[in-house]
Symmetry: C2
Subunit: 192 residues, 2 copies
């Protein structure tokens, strides 16, 4: 495989998709383009110590299953809600990367006219795509009697390739613009 341009130019091979997105969201925030945040990991706290003269220390806690997605926020009056997922697979994205409750959450958001999608990174080739929720739902709903993954070709055809750039590192809002445009053409304008 040819060397990915982004490795050469931006040299961020070590960053996780989440770090790359957090950095991109910070840029969007500072430029007043959008307000998108990663939600904190939900924790079940069992025991907290309150030492004198210093900060409370959590001494026992457990990770809880998240009931929603990784990221949400607001962009031009639109509610955005998305998951970020990395895979080392080369030709498809396995559906077992998702939990049922994440899909249900995204379906509920779409019912409220939120804009939902997944940002998928094929980490071996450093390829990035924005996959609209509709395609994910279609594959998710057929998986018990059908295939358990989404072919990369489908992701490329029904989604949008995102090229890494300097700032923001992952310019995914450009794809969100196209996604919103497509949704407007299909459903008629919801927004002005």
């Amino acid at each position: 495989a040819r060397k990915n341009q982004r490795d050469v130019i931006f040299g961020n091979r070590g960053m996780s998709l989440e770090e790359e997105l957090n950095q991109s969201n910070l840029y969007y925030l500072q430029q007043q383009v959008a307000v998108i945040h990663k939600k904190p990991v939900p924790i079940q706290i069992v025991q907290v110590d309150y030492p004198r003269r210093s900060a409370a220390v959590i001494k026992e806690a457990y990770f809880k299953q998240a009931s929603t997605t990784d990221y949400n926020g607001v962009y031009h009056g639109y509610y955005l809600d998305f998951e970020a997922k990395e895979t080392r697979n080369k030709t498809s994205f396995p559906l077992n990367n998702f939990h049922e409750h994440q899909i249900n959450h995204m379906k509920a958001c779409v019912r409220q006219a939120g804009i939902c999608f997944t940002i998928i990174k094929f980490s071996i080739t450093q390829e990035l795509f924005l996959l609209p929720a509709a395609t994910l739902f279609e594959y998710w709903d057929q998986q018990t009697h059908g295939r358990k993954s989404i072919p990369k070709k489908i992701i490329a055809d029904s989604g949008f390739a995102i090229a890494y750039q300097f700032q923001p590192l992952i310019p995914y809002l450009t794809c969100v613009d196209k996604l919103i445009e497509n949704l407007r053409n299909v459903k008629g304008a919801h927004h002005e």
Copy 2:
């Protein structure tokens, strides 16, 4: 003071505002009215143990300052973002209940056409109000040379009283409808 009707009918005096709102949001979610969640408290994790055959245990962690507000989500295509605050004050709401970064976050969301507000509970009288962000910003921005609290009368006049009911316990989306209506009349329709 006369006994609040809600104490008599619904008898939830022991619940915190947060619990009341979480319960209301669950109702809205189940009825497919809106998708609004409390964000998890952000935690700085320092040490995690991974015992064999059982769940990972967080052994040392600290509370981090939240950089956003308590609640956000989507309702009829609108991005909602709000803080929930209780006070034992009787005649005004002290501005030191807010951190600068929460105000900045709400200002950034409003710039993106998000709908921002605070739900304020005067706990002594069990009175609830939805206060639009614009009024909060106005008082916040004048506080260095002006008063350090928002009079309850202003909250009642520029905001909306919310009466507790059976389900949802706090029917705040009814007030959000009015708030959206007011914003549309002022600015011209952003949606539809």
